[in-house]
């Protein structure tokens, strides 16, 4: 780009990371409040899309060198593995467990296997959105 829109870049840098942080919050809040893997994933994806939109493809590719197809795959793998864990203890596929543990700093915290499962969903959603958009965008050039 010939005249780099400085203002856009500055704002994007700040806003994108605020959105990313918020998406992480939404993801973790998911079990008890609105949010979760889908919503967190979509929001992270839109933050990244914003980055791609305001900077050019090459720059961001240098910064975020992910292969999104692999992100999808690892997300799926994570979700399936979470489901399989229960099977080793004689429970049906995808049985989720939870319990409360006293952790340092956080205090009494609920830990659940639904969280890694949700993380798998999160990864798939992020991977999918960016994969589609980037593939189409790269084909332009």
């Amino acid at each position: 780009m010939r005249n780099t829109p400085v203002q856009l870049h500055v704002i994007t840098r700040i806003v994108a990371f605020i959105i990313l942080a918020f998406s992480v919050f939404l993801f973790f809040a998911g079990h008890n409040n609105p949010g979760g893997g889908f919503i967190g994933g979509l929001m992270s994806a839109s933050a990244l899309v914003l980055l791609y939109l305001s900077f050019d493809l090459k720059t961001i590719k240098r910064v975020i060198p992910f292969n999104y197809a692999k992100v999808i795959a690892s997300g799926l793998l994570l979700a399936i593995l979470t489901g399989i864990v229960g099977m080793f203890f004689g429970f049906p596929f995808l049985t989720q467990f939870f319990d409360y543990f006293p952790l340092p700093i956080l205090g009494e915290t609920e830990l659940t296997t639904a969280l890694p499962f949700d993380l798998g969903i999160y990864l798939v959603v992020v991977g999918f959105t960016l994969l589609v958009i980037l593939t189409v965008a790269e084909d332009d050039n």
Partner: protein, 112 residues
């Protein structure tokens, strides 16, 4: 309220159907998007629009809106997103390859 919503859904479905029946790839895709909106709203409406609190137990309300259709619609929205994205890319490739987005010109050869 339900009746108003159902009428809205009816309009959405009618327009979606009309769009799907046209010849242009673009319009068909938009029609499908509208149709899925209609379906989601219909689903929500049929589960009774009772004005309970959102289905969050933290609210500790006496009644909650029905969570099951919401979960199903959530799934449907994401799937719809995936399908629409796929159709868009398909349309894009079709146009690149054949140079038209008109279904009548996209018919296969006679011997197919």
């Amino acid at each position: 309220m339900e009746i108003l919503m159902i009428l809205t859904v009816g309009v959405l479905v009618t327009v979606a159907t009309y769009m799907i029946l046209t010849k242009s790839l673009l319009r068909v895709i938009l029609g499908v998007v509208l149709l899925s909106h209609g379906a989601h709203l219909l689903f929500l409406t049929m589960a009774n629009l009772k004005q309970g609190s959102p289905p969050l137990l933290g609210e500790e309300a006496s009644s909650y809106a029905d969570p099951l259709p919401q979960a199903l619609i959530l799934t449907a929205i994401v799937i719809g997103f995936g399908i629409t994205a796929f159709m868009l890319v398909l349309a894009y490739r079709t146009y690149k390859a054949h140079g038209t987005d008109n279904f009548d010109e996209l018919r296969g050869t006679e011997d197919e």
